[in-house]
């Protein structure tokens, strides 16, 4: 098989299968957590409780990275299969990588950068601390 621009070779083939298997399990968890626990309600408070913990940050970050690589590698395979003009292929491969990186960074910033807003304590609890 021709190994043109954007071809990932055997590693890409293997990675799609392994990440796909993990993504099936991750999606089951994602679906359960978002649509069954808390009666399927998705509010800031509920999401914030999870996303404030390091364990969930790690799970979500793994899920994000695998999903983006899996999806964008899929785009690259489609480009490889249908686009034969060298320039067009170079352009599309560059575009897929750019959008993929932007979306991965955007997602990572949301997860890593998330910190719950400080709870507003009623004045009597602050006691003498407030001058």
């Amino acid at each position: 098989m021709e190994r043109g621009i954007g071809s990932g070779g055997a590693f890409a083939w293997f990675f799609q299968r392994i990440s796909g298997a993990v993504l099936v399990l991750a999606l089951l968890l994602h679906f359960w957590v978002l649509h069954y626990s808390n009666q399927g309600e998705v509010t800031f408070e509920i999401v914030a409780q999870r996303l404030a913990t390091p364990v969930w940050k790690t799970i979500d970050l793994t899920f994000l990275v695998l999903a983006v690589i899996h999806g964008f590698w899929g785009f690259l395979m489609i480009v490889r299969d249908y686009v034969h003009s060298k320039n067009m292929r170079l352009f599309l491969v560059a575009a897929v990588w750019t959008v993929g990186l932007v979306i991965a960074v955007m997602g990572a910033l949301t997860i890593i950068g998330f910190h719950p807003p400080l709870p507003v304590a009623p004045p009597e609890q602050l006691g003498g601390m407030v001058q």
């Binding site: 796909g20 298997a21 408070e45 899929g74 249908y82 807003p117």
Partner: protein, 118 residues
């Protein structure tokens, strides 16, 4: 590229089409969730997405996820578990199980959208 329209080719094309749809959804999803930087902003976005239109669209998302995931398991069975000889039979199982899961899974969405009664 020439396609012979047998089950394997249908599986291949459906896998690609659902995969592309899911990747575009992923882009939108990450963008929407980035509204988490502000609590009010996030709840406004979620309330907007609670409209019946999006509930109906989510049935399409469910269909793409279910088929792509189940057919992905079929692909792994072919590649790693020597299932090449029965790939066509597994495809029919994938279609049947997908149809059931999508039909059952669509019910809550339709109820939420007000299409089915509560």
């Amino acid at each position: 590229m020439r396609y012979k329209w047998k089950s394997g080719q249908w599986a291949f094309v459906l896998h690609r089409v659902s995969g592309v749809a899911l990747s575009f959804y992923l882009i939108m999803h990450i963008y929407v969730v980035s509204s988490l930087y502000d609590p009010q902003n996030f709840d406004t976005v979620m309330a907007f997405l609670n409209q019946p239109l999006f509930k109906i669209l989510e049935i399409g998302l469910l269909a793409a996820v279910v088929f792509h995931g189940l057919n992905g398991i079929r692909v792994m069975m072919i590649d790693f578990a020597n299932a090449t000889r029965v790939h066509a039979q597994i495809f029919w199982v994938v279609l049947a199980v997908s149809a059931v899961l999508i039909a059952v899974g669509a019910v809550p969405f339709l109820m939420h959208a007000g299409v089915l009664g509560h």
